[in-house]
């Protein structure tokens, strides 16, 4: 891991993911990516699923990537990186590596569309096969690259263009898929959740470093607040991420060897979910009197899940 002692230093480490990309002002993707690619001294080969990060970082004849980078399609970032990793193993065995003195690690980035939904089979397959790679989901809870349609990561109550609020609708009806636990159930040696920003950046950096240095398939689900489609001010991204953690809407934890769960941050006092939801336009309709029951349901579910994490950690099984 690179020895970066304070957050400002990240702004001065553009050697792998350059600025000048076309991500929205206030987008969390860039922060997460730069933290991940700076979490190791090893060389990186990266694949990226079609999505915000891909369309904003490699528009010919420009690229923000100073590492080898591959984009194939929406649903196959994991399969693509598994092929590259297999080639590395093959060339290593055959003594034909291009740079024998260098250690290469493999990382895939996908949005929640490319990870929870259309790319899930590819991710599950690559994970089951045991390839040595880190997959990072940049989870902005919807298809934001195409104007904010729902995904299976969209939380209950959120307005999206395909689960819109309306005269008889409170927005998304289905609960957010628990992908992190599903990945842990694959028996991955390391799985974690993370958020970008000033408060938990060391948590993310440490998790990325641990994931990259762990042999085998590892997974980080990073919440990526989306100023454009979640409808908050671009300067509030970090605050929104922090509120997701403080309300336990997006708890920070890690799971080793598919079962050993450790909560990596405990809010001193769990904030009510309204503190998080009220800051985002996508949930504004929930604050109408007729939707108050939805807020209650969300709070109930968050409480239940937090309790589940605490008990599971305590049980240590």
């Amino acid at each position: 891991m690179k020895n970066i002692s304070n957050l400002k230093e990240f702004a001065c480490t553009p050697d792998r993911f350059q600025g000048g990309h076309r991500l929205c002002p206030g987008c969390a993707h860039g922060m997460i990516v730069r933290e991940v690619v700076n979490a190791t001294e090893d060389d990186l080969v990266i694949s990226t699923a079609t999505g915000c990060l891909e369309v904003c970082s490699a528009i010919y004849p420009y690229t923000s990537w100073d590492v080898s980078w591959l984009h194939i399609g929406f649903e196959n970032a994991a399969a693509g990186i598994s092929g590259a990793e297999a080639m590395y193993k093959a060339l290593s065995r055959k003594n034909r590596l291009y740079n024998e003195d260098r250690n290469v690690k493999f990382v895939a980035f996908g949005g929640d569309g490319g990870t929870y939904d259309i790319g899930f089979q590819s991710l599950s397959g690559a994970t089951e096969r045991g390839h040595d790679f880190l997959y990072v989901c940049l989870d902005n809870e919807g298809y934001m690259n195409t104007g904010g349609q729902r995904s299976s990561s969209t939380p209950i109550g959120a307005h999206t263009t395909t689960s819109p609020r309306g005269r008889v609708s409170y927005g998304e009806k289905n609960r957010k898929k628990d992908l992190t636990m599903i990945m842990a159930a694959h028996g991955c040696p390391y799985v974690a959740t993370a958020v970008p920003g000033s408060k938990h950046w060391k948590d993310l950096a440490a998790k990325a470093a641990k994931a990259i240095s762990t042999a085998g398939p590892t997974f980080i689900n990073a919440l990526s607040p989306c100023t454009t489609e979640w409808k908050f001010k671009p300067e509030d991204t970090v605050e929104i991420a922090d509120l997701a953690v403080e309300t336990c809407m997006f708890p920070l934890y890690e799971i080793e060897d598919g079962h050993k769960l450790t909560i990596t941050y405990r809010p001193k006092q769990k904030l009510p979910v309204e503190e998080y939801l009220s800051r985002q336009g996508r949930f504004s309709h929930l604050f109408k009197p007729e939707n108050s029951w939805v807020l209650e349901e969300i709070q109930k579910e968050v409480d239940r899940y937090w309790e589940y994490l605490l008990r599971r950690e305590e049980a240590g099984v």
Partner: protein, 405 residues
């Protein structure tokens, strides 16, 4: 190092076995595959070679054909020799990524054991999958028997990886009729085969991390057209390399291949155009028809893409009537071979009376007698000096006669 496999000078192999030995001899670095009938034995044979130390590359058994081709793209972009095999629905599932592979100019070699596309489901041979990938930017080579399946696969690596080409290549063989029909095959020994293909020549490998590469960038209206035109140019100019490789192969083995194969065409008045195992059936039918005094010949594009327009027009320039036989249902048009051959003739100021026959869908038998019937009908057109038969007919279709004019 992988163990050498001791081969006899003559082996009895089916098309799948032949293709899998060619993959083994090519010392492929990464094979990523998903089994599907009738190409499954290629994948099984490869797994067996690996389990017994005859292969020292990586074998990635993915969870779908989409991931198979995606892993092939990742592996090829990483910088090494890559191959796979598939059929039918698997090929259809790969289609999105076939375009990605060729667009990134990755020299992946894929054996396609041709099989019908559902629905209705059918596991037997036709060219529905081959035609589906027609515009995918791959070179498509045709093998009519197990020997050719072996030979074409060896040639495919050398063509694909040539720095003047750098395009993916499929080698096609008919499901069951070639893939599961054992015949005598004369293989090369391992060293000779590998030497013919040569070491993999890296070009912009991602794993050369001192020179980072970007694969799969976004291009919009400013650049997309230029990239696709450049890719098309590479395909259109690949015949020079294909000819070179076929010539080198002939020098090594004595077996001569051409981008356009033909049989008894020199004095022919009528001709059939046909690809795949039916070409060999048609050879027998041609001999029989000639015994009856019909001057008929045969022609086949061995490279379906790039399509050998000028060579075909040249060979057919004195032919009066032509029947193009397509082993895929064109669904609302003439078959692909009909259209390509008609276009080839027109482009060269030639013309002939042309008819189209659809045959062999889903493994339906096409016998010598069926082909003889087509020859006789085509001869009627030649004798009349105009088309007196149907424009598009169906060979050995049960039920009432189906034809279109």
């Amino acid at each position: 190092m992988a163990e050498k496999y001791q081969l006899k000078s003559k082996e009895v192999w089916d098309g799948n076995t032949a293709a899998s030995h060619a993959l083994r001899q090519a010392q492929v670095d990464v094979v990523a595959a998903y089994p599907i009938t009738p190409s499954t034995p290629i994948v099984q044979n490869y797994a067996s070679f690996l389990a017994n130390g005859y292969v020292d590359g990586e074998f990635v058994m993915v969870e779908s054909e989409h991931s198979a081709m995606s892993a092939c793209v990742g592996a090829a972009a990483a910088g090494g020799r890559v191959a796979t095999a598939t059929s039918s629905q698997g090929y259809a599932l790969m289609v999105e990524v076939l375009y990605q592979a060729s667009g990134m100019r990755l020299p992946i070699v894929m054996t396609v054991v041709n099989r019908a596309l559902a629905s209705p489901l059918n596991i037997h041979g036709d060219h529905g999958d081959l035609y589906l990938g027609r515009d995918a930017g791959w070179i498509h080579l045709i093998a009519n028997n197990p020997q050719e399946a072996y030979d074409m696969t060896l040639c495919a690596f050398r063509i694909a990886e040539d720095e003047r080409v750098r395009l993916p290549v499929t080698t096609n063989q008919d499901g069951f009729l070639v893939s599961h029909t054992a015949q005598v095959v004369e293989p090369l020994d391992d060293d000779t085969a590998y030497k013919f293909i040569g070491d993999y020549k890296p070009l912009n490998p991602m794993l050369d991390i001192k020179n980072p590469q970007t694969y799969g960038a976004q291009t919009e209206e400013e650049w997309h057209f230029e990239f696709k035109a450049t890719q098309h140019k590479a395909l259109m100019e690949s015949p020079a390399v294909i000819d070179e490789v076929f010539a080198a192969f002939e020098k090594l083995t004595g077996r001569k291949y051409n981008r356009v194969e033909s049989y008894k065409l020199d004095d022919a008045e009528i001709a059939l155009v046909v690809m795949g195992s039916a070409y060999e059936t048609s050879m027998v039918a041609v001999d029989k028809a000639r015994e009856e005094g019909i001057k008929v010949g045969l022609i086949m594009p061995r490279s379906f893409r790039p399509f050998p327009y000028n060579e075909i027009a040249e060979k057919l320039k004195n032919i009066k009537a032509i029947a193009a036989l397509d082993r895929s249902c064109p669904m609302g048009a003439m078959g692909a071979l009909y259209n390509e051959v008609a276009g080839a003739l027109a482009a060269n100021g030639e013309s002939a009376i042309m008819t189209n026959y659809i045959y062999g869908l889903g493994g339906r038998d096409t016998t010598i007698e069926h082909i003889l019937e087509v020859i006789k009908e085509t001869n009627e057109n030649a004798k009349a000096g105009k088309r007196v038969t149907d424009l598009q007919g169906f060979i050995n279709l049960r039920g009432p006669k189906l034809s279109f004019n």
